[in-house]
């Protein structure tokens, strides 16, 4: 038996809709096997992972909190990937946004600075993220250096910079030598939406980003430009669109969104700058972008789903002693199935016998 791909005359819209669901179903089956190998009851484990977090208000809010950076970053990444520009350094742009915004929080600490601080921090975060993303974009456009490798390398650099700052110049003098800044002042903190809860204003911003992304891609000529440059670069050039310029634009937008997500995370749920502010949001957002089919609404749903796996993973570790790495494995496997199922949109799979089949023709 041999697997053969047959190109479809047209992309299948039906399969485009169900393929993420097939991918999730296959992932759940694979995960059940993995749980069984780890000696855990698969049904119970899946329950803890995917059902329990949906049953109490704290976890539901926490899902929204985790989904906020994932969705914001993934929207930006989807623009890049649609335009065939491979920004995989969102994690670094996220950290740089957090660092730049925190600078203002640290500098205004204890002063009587007014309510302009938080908006200014968010702006700084977005600008820093955009500028940091423009480094690989410029290297690509000006010199032809692979943006994949340079954007990824800069993640390590951003990580080390943050580490240096919180261990050195910005360390909280009253922090018992922990590598962290002091808690941000209230004017430098993203407000919560529900008194005493976790849900914060950043989630509203994320929803606005989703809406803006949907309008941009679906209704505007710029959105068409992004899609056509990625889908058929030569045709796009013939259409009068400049691919290099678009690399800069999409990297800047995605960097800005990642940076904004970074400062929101630090000024919101965390409240201070410290190492390890991201459990890999910038990388998980890549999965979110693909699982959401590079479509803003799809990304919103996918972001909530992957946020669920973060929360479920934490609960599974506490309740069933399932290692946290299982969550990463889950995310990796999910991305594989998503990509494999996407192949069905363009191709039909057929199994044929390996030897050439020759029948007698009609006479």
């Amino acid at each position: 038996m041999q697997l053969v791909l047959e190109k479809r005359a047209e992309r299948s819209t039906g399969i485009a809709l169900v393929s993420p669901l097939i991918a999730i179903a296959l992932t759940l089956v694979t995960m059940s096997i993995l749980f069984a190998i780890l000696g855990k009851n698969p049904i119970a484990a899946l329950g803890v992972y995917f059902i329990d977090p949906l049953t109490d208000s704290y976890s539901l809010q926490e899902i929204a909190v985790k989904a906020t950076p994932l969705v914001m970053i993934a929207i930006g990444l989807s623009l890049c990937y649609l335009a065939n520009a491979w920004n995989i350094g969102a994690e670094g742009q996220f950290l740089m946004g957090a660092v730049a915004g925190s600078w203002l929080a640290v500098k205004t600490q204890g002063t009587d600075a007014g309510h302009w601080v938080l908006p200014a921090m968010l702006l700084l975060g977005a600008i820093a993220g955009a500028l940091y993303a423009l480094i690989p974009a410029l290297c690509k456009v000006r010199f032809g250096a692979s943006e994949i490798l340079t954007s990824l390398m800069l993640v390590y650099v951003a990580d080390l910079l943050l580490d240096y700052l919180v261990r050195g110049p910005w360390r909280d003098p009253k922090g018992f030598n922990f590598p962290t800044t002091a808690e941000f002042d209230p004017v430098a903190t993203v407000p919560v939406l529900i008194e005493g809860g976790r849900l914060h204003f950043g989630s509203i911003i994320a929803l606005a980003v989703v809406a803006a992304g949907a309008v941009l891609l679906g209704r505007t000529i710029k959105g068409f430009e992004i899609r056509v440059v990625g889908a058929a670069p030569r045709a796009a050039r013939f259409g009068g669109f400049n691919a290099n310029q678009l690399v800069l634009v999409t990297f800047a937008i995605s960097g800005a969104l990642a940076g904004l997500a970074g400062i929101i995370e630090v000024a919101g749920p965390i409240g201070h700058l410290q190492p390890g502010i991201s459990p890999g949001y910038g990388f998980t957002a890549i999965i979110v972008a693909f699982l959401g089919r590079l479509n803003p609404v799809g990304i919103l749903i996918a972001g909530l789903f992957l946020a669920l796996t973060f929360i479920g993973g934490e609960q599974a570790q506490i309740a069933m002693k399932i290692p946290l790495d299982v969550t990463k494995v889950f995310q990796g496997i999910l991305l594989f199935y998503v990509l494999a199922c996407d192949s069905l949109i363009l191709y039909r799979f057929r199994f044929i016998s390996a030897s050439p089949k020759v029948q007698s023709g009609a006479h």
Partner: protein, 298 residues
């Protein structure tokens, strides 16, 4: 003391595998993922068996298995190679954490350094040329072998042909997808071994994430080397030297933040990529079919 040669060896091994993969026209960005799984499995194998060789073999097998997932996706199902490579890295980091969790904190006896009486005792040169562990010499033998096969044998010619134009290779009757699968598997074996080298010889213990971006640097090295084996050796040793240099600089306490020194290899990668791409602007030396999907019609 960690030598430049030892620091360069994992880069050279991983880049050698990737060079062969890319010469066949496949861009596997999952080197980091294959390496880190190779490191976990390699250490596990050595710790359980007490044998460095068995550890290395476990690393190789793990790398091959990882690469087969990649091959199934990109060659079998015609999935985008960039996205699949990223997925492989994400999966690999998770898997290595899962596999390696029980080995964290354990120690093994690292791979012995060869000692050739007389030769190894020559001042300065002797220690460097004749006193390293076996993997160092294996990696050098491997790159020579790769050069020979690529440029002096018929299988090498066919492999390069697949990387240049898969449509032509198919039209002449070469099984493009199968040849590419072998190249991907070779890349996986090399990456797995490169990963295993870290806990088996470089530092005799396993920690999660210990590859620390070496897989990505190996990818950059292939670009730096313009897909030529000879330059790959030069590039790998240059990066090994940067790694050792920054370690020494940190040890010497020059008053420079240690984080800046740690960032040097990554910054160097960016700078080298820019310089090399700029020098080549106009004509690329990359295999013409690199990263493109091939679906034969039948």
């Amino acid at each position: 003391m960690l030598s430049v040669l030892a620091a360069s060896t994992p880069l050279l091994l991983a880049a050698t595998g990737e060079l062969v993969t890319e010469r066949a026209g496949v861009l596997n960005l999952g080197v980091e993922g294959m390496m880190i799984v190779g490191a976990a499995c390699g250490f596990g194998g050595a710790w359980l068996s007490g044998s460095i060789i068995i550890g290395a073999l476990c690393g190789i097998v793990a790398g091959i298995l990882m690469s087969l997932i990649f091959a199934l996706m990109t060659l079998g199902l015609a999935v985008n190679q960039v996205a699949t490579g990223l997925a492989l890295t994400i999966l690999g980091i998770g898997l290595s954490g899962l596999i390696g969790a029980r080995f964290v904190g354990e120690k093994i006896t690292p791979a012995p350094h060869l000692h050739i009486p007389g030769l190894s005792d020559i001042p300065l040169v002797g220690r460097i040329l004749f006193g390293e562990d076996g993997f160092v010499y294996l990696s050098l033998a491997l790159i020579v072998a790769v050069w020979y096969v690529l440029y002096r044998t018929r299988p090498g010619l066919i492999l390069r042909a697949c990387g240049d134009n898969h449509v032509s290779a198919h039209a002449l009757g070469y099984p493009v997808l199968r040849i590419r699968m072998y190249a991907v598997m070779f890349g996986g074996a090399c990456a797995g071994l490169a990963g295993a080298y870290l806990p088996l010889a470089y530092t005799p213990f396993f920690i999660p994430g210990m590859t620390a971006g070496r897989g990505w640097i190996a990818l950059a090295l292939v670009v730096f080397a313009s897909w030529r084996p000879g330059r790959l050796v030069a590039g790998a040793y240059l990066f090994g030297a940067v790694t050792i240099l920054q370690l020494h600089a940190q040890g010497a306490g020059l008053g420079v933040p240690s984080q800046l020194m740690s960032a040097l290899p990554y910054l160097a990668t960016v700078i080298v990529l820019v310089l090399i791409s700029r020098a080549r602007s106009g004509g690329s030396t990359a295999p013409a079919a690199l990263g493109t999907v091939f679906v034969p019609d039948r």
